[in-house]
Symmetry: C2
Subunit: 122 residues, 2 copies
Amino acid sequence: MSDDRFAALPAPPYYAVIFSSQRSEQDQAGYETTAARMVELVRAQPGFLGFESTRDGSGFGITAAYFDSEASIAAWRAQAEHAAARDLGHRLWYRRFELRVARVERAYGGPHKPSTHSASSA
Amino acid sequence: MSDDRFAALPAPPYYAVIFSSQRSEQDQAGYETTAARMVELVRAQPGFLGFESTRDGSGFGITAAYFDSEASIAAWRAQAEHAAARDLGHRLWYRRFELRVARVERAYGGPHKPSTHSASSA
């Protein structure tokens, strides 16, 4: 039922944008509409590999979005509609956020299905 | 109210372990007890910098744990009680999980308070 919550990623290396945020209590409808639109847009972004995202009942969320390169992250950052949404997020939707950009060096998962997991240990 | 959900991290570089998981519906009490114990243990682990974690109502969660080096991650991985818990997680508590180890290269956050945010853009 939940396998579509997991990103299907190639073997490392690739890049991660780790975005943690605390939602404000403002504008839930606008937030949801824009979030859905950002998913649509990022999926069309060159170099986008996949994302995983979750948020608990208190409004604390983490999204990890994966890209093939720093250049692809920079291009997504510069995308105009994304930039406008980000600005609204900073001003309205998030009480606080933290973003970290990281180079993924190794990965593994389970249960161990060769078709969906990359090699090595952590 | 929620600032304790955010890790207070030094300026990059440092390392992230990004762990996404789908909980099974088994052994909620044992899972919670062990999760709390792992937090206690990892806080005592040399090189541990902080973590952020959230899980939605469907049981899909993401935890990002931060360490100063790959060596600190390896030491935490080898910690005996952690290894035992990890084995139970793989067999019992998680229907599926994915783990990625990444080197954080830059970070920023908001609202912009100089004391809690590191430099640069993403």
